[in-house]
């Protein structure tokens, strides 16, 4: 028993600095954001009170004079005013729709990754060079990816436009202009984002493939199973652990998408490619609506929570 006590003490000591940092920067902020989402804080005023309790502050004294609201004559506002406004905010719905589009189409990069992994799962000295080159985008910063792809897809002067015209896929006065389009800008962003992500999925699937038990595969081949059957009934099921990880990482990545949108389109044209993460940033730091931004972040959090809980259940089941 003294040993048990010893271990418990040691464990808490070992974890203490981590827990302090983690509480300060990760755990408490979640609750703080939930709280802020009930306020109309503008980032300037010293006091942060929920909208429905603001009349308390107004009746006390004049405050710092930085209050945005019209004064104490107004009736108390609902604490969920931000959410009510979100409900009627066109841009919010566009951003949410785009996040869902990301969720669906960004997942296609996992298939690309799988296809590339199957294609390059070859033992040859040259193959490892090819693989390295395919992996490369994975280590680029998204700022770099955005710069490279923004230039590649630039609608007037970009290489893609140039090549399409050279190959007469596009006529001289036709334009592809992916990023200028209200309908297709998000597609352009997802393609750029899928580039490093497919490489990442390729790595995971290649690792999965190299772990496959060779005797099973050989036995199947000897039995005269066709290559498609082999893939569908044997290889893919054996890759299931990799697929679970790829799925969760892809979905979280789709919800987090910020850098590429901010860099390549800024959410434009006219918010048509905006996503929740960027819209939250814009409302908070460009419009000084911290409360409203927090409400957007909360919605994003709620959507992610579904995924996180699903993953945690999966993990804890595997751990036991």
């Amino acid at each position: 028993m003294p040993q048990r006590h010893e271990q418990r003490k040691a464990a808490w000591l070992f974890l203490f600095p981590s827990l302090v940092l983690y509480a300060l920067y990760v755990v408490l902020p979640i609750f703080f954001t939930l709280y802020l989402s009930t306020t109309t804080w503008d980032g300037f005023s010293a006091r942060v009170l929920p909208a429905c309790l603001e009349f308390l502050a107004n009746s006390e004294e004049l405050g710092t004079g930085a209050s945005l609201s019209g004064g104490s004559t107004e009736a108390p506002v609902s604490c969920f005013a931000n959410y009510a406004e979100l409900w009627n905010d066109d841009v919010f719905w566009v951003a949410l729709r785009n996040n869902l589009l990301w969720l669906v189409f960004f997942s296609l990069s996992a298939f690309v990754g799988l296809a590339l992994a199957l294609f390059f799962h070859v033992k040859a000295r040259a193959a490892s060079f090819y693989k390295s080159m395919f992996f490369m985008p994975m280590v680029f910063s998204l700022v770099v990816v955005g710069t490279i792809w923004g230039w590649f897809l630039q609608p007037e002067f970009g290489l893609l436009e140039f090549l399409l015209k050279k190959m007469h896929i596009l006529g001289e006065d036709e334009q592809f202009g992916l990023l200028a389009s209200f309908h297709w800008a998000t597609a352009g962003l997802i393609v750029a984002a899928a580039w490093p992500h497919a490489a990442y999925c390729m790595v995971l699937y290649l690792a999965g493939l190299s772990n496959l038990q060779r005797n099973v595969l050989e036995a199947a081949l000897i039995d005269g199973v066709s290559r498609w059957q082999l893939l569908w009934h044997i290889v893919l099921p054996m890759l299931r652990p990799a697929t679970i990880v790829v799925t969760i990482v892809t979905m979280i990545g789709a919800l987090r998408s910020f850098d590429l949108v901010a860099i390549m389109t800024g959410g434009g044209p006219a918010n048509s490619s905006n996503v929740l993460a960027l819209y939250m940033y814009q409302q908070t730091f460009e419009n000084n609506r911290y409360g409203y931004g927090a409400a957007i972040a909360t919605v994003l959090f709620a959507v992610s929570l579904l995924l996180i809980v699903a993953y945690l259940r999966q993990t804890s089941r595997d751990q036991n």
């Binding site: 294609f119 280590v139 979280i252």
Partner: protein, 275 residues
């Protein structure tokens, strides 16, 4: 399925695929050595008349990339070291020390690594500005990265430590070693491959961060290379040759790291995902 010798058709197809795959990179590489005159004339995609390597000089010296570069190192390296230290200790505690809270703490760390970090944006900004006073310092960024990456890193290390046989540790305990000594003398040396793998991953992720540098830093001379590149793009909006040169410079360190430590990096990715 594997290890079959491939014919020339395969290699031709593979090469085409590769060229297609890297064509955005090639576009930037080509533009990065073009002169402004050529771009002004609209000659974007012809072979450059002369290789204008001075664009790189311009970006590195006049564009301040040398400073951004150093800042990235000063932010990334301390963060990685701090995380390795904290997560290895935490991972050991969660994997090998018996206490009731362990599974819950583990869930907390795993849950945190999947968070959309926008939920943390305003509070961390507020915390740095009004509570800790670390706004607009590199320290503030180091503290945040350390805290946020702890979720993944602790989970990662804990999974690795679990593979170390209990026997070794029990034997040391019976010999009267303190837990600190066991961690320091026995577990840490065994962790070396995992630490190397984790370090390469963390280096890449933190080096590549843009959002948090945007939020927590203001002074130009403190910015890391990602924020610096974006800042210069704002100044050189139609100067694609300089933008491209900047992008290439910003990509070099992670690419070099990947080239030399590819094995660790890939093992890190697959270890992090496997259980």
């Amino acid at each position: 399925m594997e290890e079959r010798v491939r014919g020339p058709v395969y290699w031709i197809f593979a090469t085409l695929l590769l060229v297609l795959w890297v064509s955005p990179i090639l576009a930037s590489l080509l533009t990065s050595v073009k002169t402004l005159d050529e771009l002004n004339r609209g000659d974007y995609w012809t072979w450059p008349q002369k290789l204008a390597f001075e664009n790189y000089y311009e970006a590195f010296v006049n564009g301040g990339f040398s400073r951004y570069f150093v800042n990235s190192l000063l932010i990334t390296i301390p963060s990685v070291i701090a995380i390795l230290f904290l997560s290895s200790a935490g991972g050991y505690a969660l994997a090998k020390l018996r206490f009731k809270a362990a599974p819950y703490l583990l869930l907390m760390f795993v849950g945190g690594m999947l968070l959309p970090f926008q939920i943390l944006l305003i509070p961390v900004f507020y915390l740095s500005n009004h509570v800790l006073g670390t706004y607009d310092t590199r320290l503030g960024l180091v503290l945040f990265h350390t805290a946020f990456q702890l979720g993944f890193a602790t989970f990662f290390m804990r999974n690795f430590v679990r593979t170390i046989p209990d026997g070794i540790i029990e034997a040391a305990r019976i010999d009267g070693c303190s837990e600190w000594r066991i961690y320091r003398r026995i577990v840490l040396p065994l962790m070396r491959p995992a630490l190397a793998a984790l370090a390469t991953l963390l280096f890449t992720w933190i080096w590549n961060d843009y959002l948090w540098a945007l939020i927590l830093l203001q002074t130009d001379t403190l910015k890391p290379i990602t924020a610096g590149l974006q800042n210069l793009k704002g100044q050189w909006i139609a100067s694609y040759h300089l933008q491209s040169a900047g992008a290439v410079i910003a990509a070099i360190p992670p690419v070099l790291m990947f080239a030399f430590l590819q094995k660790h990096f890939i093992r890190g990715l697959t270890m992090g995902s496997g259980k």
